[in-house]
């Protein structure tokens, strides 16, 4: 008689937030969440990080906005989207009925706009946390953003943390000389967690036309191509920080996600995979559960930080 495997405990405790499982959807790759309702049960996700939100609606970059590269995708969307008022009026009421944690990715053209977004959202109900997007490479020239220096990271995180009534996750840029220094600055400023990595600043060229393949010239590289870099950065940061790390970068399978947990991430975000398979995040949860069951792992949290380096 076959032995029924014990159910695997998938629950994930970030300290400030308890999740059904460690899989969140990465901002900018899952729209406002509702786009995916026809394709998967959103209640099966650990949580949704909705598309980056500025105070005012944003027009975004001129096309072409996407270019495929080997095992990767470079995007230069430019954070087109609705502003806070339309978000609160049209999107948030729909998100509130979902039985999953909703995290808003908070953006700003300057520190005051970040603060204004948080101040506005603090008056709304139904959100679990904020993900402070200090690292989008597609908005200013040559990928400039607060996440490029420990000083600007510290100042912004400190200000937003003090202003916010909700937990704060700071999303870091890989386009830096030392991501550990930036992560430490965010931790010192009081962030409740860090999320990494955002996309890697990149470009693609059309040889015949001698033109960049993106309207914005530069964009952010995502997909399986960046996973090894993301793993390395997550491992470096998780080894040195006390606050939880949320890992992302090219996660396509449950095995990929479990590697991030081994490297020290307490949870993961699934990004580009959702473009190819709208139900990828739920499949990844299932694959993680099956791996744990097959390896006698009772709780997925027991995988976190178990990488053997000696």
């Amino acid at each position: 008689m076959a032995v029924t495997p014990k159910p695997v405990d998938l629950t994930t405790d970030l300290g400030f937030l308890k999740l059904r499982n460690p899989v969140l959807t990465a901002s900018g790759t899952f729209g406002y969440g509702l786009e995916f309702e026809p394709y998967l049960d959103l209640a099966k996700l650990g949580g949704i990080v909705v598309k980056g939100l500025y105070y005012k609606a944003r027009e975004g970059n001129p096309p072409p906005r996407l270019v495929e590269t080997p095992s990767g995708l470079i995007n230069a969307i430019g954070l087109q989207g609705v502003g806070v008022e339309a978000f609160a009026a049209k999107v948030l009421p729909e998100l509130r009925r979902l039985k999953t944690a909703v995290i808003v990715n908070v953006c700003g053209a300057d520190d005051d706009e970040y603060a204004a977004v948080v101040e506005f959202l603090d008056r709304q109900e139904g959100l679990a946390a904020y993900e402070l997007n200090i690292s989008c490479p597609n908005v200013k020239k040559e990928g400039a953003c607060p996440a490029l220096s420990p000083r600007t990271t510290f100042d912004l995180v400190k200000r937003i943390k003090a202003a916010s009534r909700r937990p704060l996750i700071t999303k870091l840029s890989p386009n830096v000389t030392s991501i550990v220094e930036i992560a430490q600055a965010a931790e010192e400023a009081g962030t409740d967690a860090v999320a990494l990595i955002n996309t890697i600043l990149a470009m693609a060229i059309d040889l015949e036309t001698r033109r960049p393949k993106l309207g914005n010239v530069y964009g952010g590289l995502s997909g399986p191509a960046i996973k090894p870099i993301a793993l390395r950065m997550v491992h470096q940061v998780a080894s040195r920080l006390k606050v939880p790390v949320i890992g992302m970068g090219g996660i396509m399978t449950g095995a990929d996600a479990l590697e991030f947990l081994m490297a020290g991430a307490a949870a993961v975000e699934v990004g580009t995979a959702s473009f190819i398979d709208p139900d990828a995040a739920v499949r990844i949860v299932d694959e993680m559960e099956r791996w744990c069951a097959a390896h006698g792992v009772a709780a997925v949290r027991d995988v976190v930080g178990t990488l053997k380096t000696s």
Binding site: G28, F30, L66, G81, S274, F275, I276
Partner: protein
């Protein structure tokens, strides 16, 4: 919308680098409307990473058809699929052409440039079923670019062909043929799918003649379901011009709303 992971490729027909696939996928076929598209996974690995958007060429209760030309890595891999293989397809997606009941007894001009003919066969069938008379204008650079002309004629449609090199039909751009034939055909509405320069020229012609027209736009797409905001085109809205997602609000737009580059 359905994710059909096990759609059977029932039949493959090819003409050089043009391919027609007949695919068993009842859930997609039943819901499909002319002008909608599907997202096809061409590879299980990450080469290429993204699905490919392809217009629905025809559909019925058993499934749907695709017609495409090999234009890059994705369509190259797709073209090598064999009858009986299984395909992973999401669809039907997007907003298609308007087939108004008012079309009854009226003539519609359908203008397809090259592989842009793909969605117009399905549209012509729907228009004919609604009692309209579709006249199909089908253009290409040369004879090899208009392989569907026999299929269109056998289906009973009036077909007017053009080739840029004069190897078949009217010698010149399809838009010149349309303009030349307008007085004779007297369409009440114009539908088009093809390269942007063709559609831009046609938009100018239809605007000049005060003809309602709908255009199916094409773009690289990240997801096809409105999540990535990668496939935008400049579109006139109530509040002014903006970047609008082709996959979600389109791919078909009324001519007067489209801003051509």
């Amino acid at each position: 919308m359905t994710i059909e992971r096990n759609a059977r490729l029932r039949e493959v027909q090819s003409w050089g680098d043009h391919f027609r696939f007949v695919i068993d996928a009842p859930a997609i076929g039943r819901d499909a409307r002319p002008g909608q598209f599907v997202m096809v996974k061409v590879s299980e690995g990450s080469a290429p990473l993204l699905r490919r958007p392809l217009g629905i060429h025809d559909a019925d209760a058993a499934g749907f058809e695709l017609f495409f030309r090999v234009a890059g890595q994705g369509t190259e891999i797709l073209s090598q699929k064999r009858e009986g293989e299984r395909l992973d397809i999401i669809g039907p997606l997007g907003r298609g052409f308007t087939v108004a009941s008012a079309a009854k007894g009226r003539t519609a001009a359908l203008v397809g440039g090259g592989r842009g003919i793909a969605p117009l066969f399905f549209l012509a069938r729907a228009l004919a079923a609604a009692g309209a008379r579709p006249v199909i204008f089908y253009g290409g650079r040369g004879l090899a670019d208009i392989p569907l002309r026999d299929r269109l004629e056998k289906a009973g449609f009036e077909v007017r062909c053009s080739t840029d090199d004069g190897s078949f039909g009217f010698a010149g751009f399809i838009t010149a043929l349309v303009e030349k034939e307008l007085a004779r055909v007297e369409p009440a509405v114009v539908y088009a799918c093809g390269p942007d320069p063709m559609m831009k020229a046609l938009a100018a012609i239809t605007a000049r003649h005060g003809l309602p027209a709908e255009f199916s736009l094409e773009s690289v797409m990240g997801c096809g379901i409105g999540a990535c905001w990668g496939c935008v085109h400049r579109i006139r809205n109530e509040g002014g011009d903006g970047w609008v997602k082709i996959c979600e609000e389109g791919p078909v737009f009324p001519g007067e709303r489209i801003r051509w580059p």
